[in-house]
């Protein structure tokens, strides 16, 4: 059974084991190579690196220029990774980082969803491209605000990506599900270094690589799959979980700090669970091939 799980052709290996182990290893190596300052700041780049490796394992290296939304996703993640590293090295933080993230997410969603936007110009019979974009901007803004709060942003990204993976599976988009699962697993690999004690900040390298990929995945799911829009919309609420989670503090300061990621994960999982339940109800369940 273990040998099967470690087979390169096994979807569970491609979208769970591989990105988790790669992200965990890469985060440690980046920290080791760059030291406690720059190394810790850039450790989040491990998420984007692991996601790109998982993408190649699942779908191969996409052509350049890309032809489909799924192929564009790879280059969005790569561009986000590079942009995030550059911003980290330039010490861009706070509101400036948030504004650049909003612009990047908007550009990524429009580029990935361009065929739908293009059709919209000829036949404006749907609000889906615009609604998708607005929800992603809301998510990106909330994520950027949470980035200053320890690993909260990473926890929300993990839950949102895991929820999207299952919803995509109920909509019969297995490759999208696998890539979303890989994103969740890669964030998980980063988080093993940061719980119960946070060691690496959630900076641009993680935010842009991971949120760019999530935006591309959500846009693809919303505009180019059979996923019912109501199965995707609750995932935006995952990124608003930090505020209610902050009110659920338990115990003293040390205990509260250790438990806060778990409490946040619980709060974020509620809308994700709603999305999954709606996915099984409205999208018709999972086709196993």
């Amino acid at each position: 059974m273990l040998a099967g799980l470690l087979s390169p052709d096994n979807p569970a290996f491609q979208s769970a084991v591989l990105p988790f182990l790669l992200a965990a290893a890469a985060a440690g190596l980046i920290r080791l190579a760059g030291g406690g300052g720059r190394g810790a700041l850039l450790a989040g780049a491990a998420v984007g690196l692991a996601l790109l490796a998982a993408y190649v394992a699942v779908l191969g290296t996409p052509p350049l220029p890309p032809r489909s939304s799924g192929q564009k996703l790879f280059y969005v993640a790569a561009a986000g990774l590079v942009l995030g590293i550059v911003l980290d090295l330039g010490r861009v933080r706070g509101r400036g980082l948030a504004l650049v993230l909003l612009a990047f997410v908007a550009a990524a969603s429009v580029w990935v969803g361009w065929p739908a936007w293009n059709r919209l110009a000829a036949a404006p019979d749907t609000w889906m491209p615009a609604v998708t974009l607005l929800l992603l901007l809301l998510a990106a803004w909330s994520l950027a605000r949470a980035a200053a709060n320890g690993i909260a942003a990473a926890v929300m990204l993990l839950v949102a990506a895991a929820g999207l993976a299952i919803v995509a599976l109920t909509a019969n988009s297995a490759s999208l599900s696998q890539i979303a699962g890989a994103l969740a697993a890669a964030v998980g690999g980063f988080l093993v270094w940061n719980w119960p004690t946070a060691r690496f900040p959630v900076a641009g390298a993680l935010l842009f690589g991971a949120m760019g990929a999530f935006a591309a995945l959500a846009t693809q799911a919303s505009l180019f799959t059979r996923a019912d829009p109501w199965t995707l919309a609750p995932l935006a609420l995952v990124f608003l979980a930090a505020a209610p989670a902050a009110r659920l503090g338990i115990g003293g300061a040390a205990v509260r700090a250790a438990l806060s990621p778990l409490v946040l994960g619980f709060c974020a999982a509620l809308p994700a669970a709603l999305a999954v339940a709606l996915g099984f109800w409205l999208n018709g369940g999972v086709y196993t091939g």
Partner: protein, 193 residues
């Protein structure tokens, strides 16, 4: 799959070269007796059969110079059916035909040649998922005769071919789901009166 249909049409063109009737400029496909189908390996257990229900075919035929004939086929990818609703949804998804982004598949013939008394070969450019690659169909001309009921001159042909889906960027599920796709085209066409 669309190329297959196109190839089948091309085969019809070749077949028309063997018709005793006068030169035919244009043939009308009989949708009730035309099938563009495909078969692909499923995990080594069996071959899965599918077909496209919606397509447009434009066939120009030069009876005296078959090589001057041409065939253009457009297939609506959303019309695919493998006779299983959930599998069809998966095939329409970005994993395979990505029908929301690429609603059409086209075939444009580049060469049509007669290889025997009742056989021919149609080569053309198949565009699928935004990728264009040459595809060749081997065509067998089955019959050309007035239809027994409506008396219209009707021709029938069969075409077979093969393509690799990975050549068109359709790589998901390899190698569990086969790379080689068998193309099966059975078609009938009527000469307009």
């Amino acid at each position: 799959m669309k190329p297959f249909r196109v190839l089948g049409l091309a085969a019809a063109v070749v077949a028309l070269g063997a018709l005793p009737a006068s030169a035919v400029d244009r043939l009308e496909i009989d949708p009730a007796h035309t099938n563009i189908a495909f078969m692909i390996d499923h995990l080594g257990y069996s071959m899965t059969l599918g077909r496209f229900a919606a397509f447009d075919i434009a066939l120009a035929f030069d009876q005296n110079q078959v090589a001057n004939s041409s065939l253009n086929v457009t297939v609506k990818t959303d019309s695919l059916s493998t006779f299983h609703a959930k599998r069809d949804e998966h095939l329409r998804s970005p994993d395979f035909f990505n029908t929301a982004e690429f609603p059409e598949m086209t075939f444009v013939s580049t060469a049509i040649e007669q290889t025997g008394e009742k056989t021919g070969r149609v080569t053309g450019d198949l565009t699928l998922l935004g990728v264009t690659r040459p595809v060749t169909l081997d065509v067998t001309f089955n019959k050309a005769a007035p239809h027994p009921f409506n008396k219209k001159m009707t021709v029938g042909f069969s075409a077979r071919g093969m393509l690799k889906r990975s050549d068109f960027g359709m790589a998901y599920g390899l190698p569990a789901v086969g790379d080689e796709v068998q193309l099966i085209i059975e078609a009938e066409a009527v000469k307009p009166e």
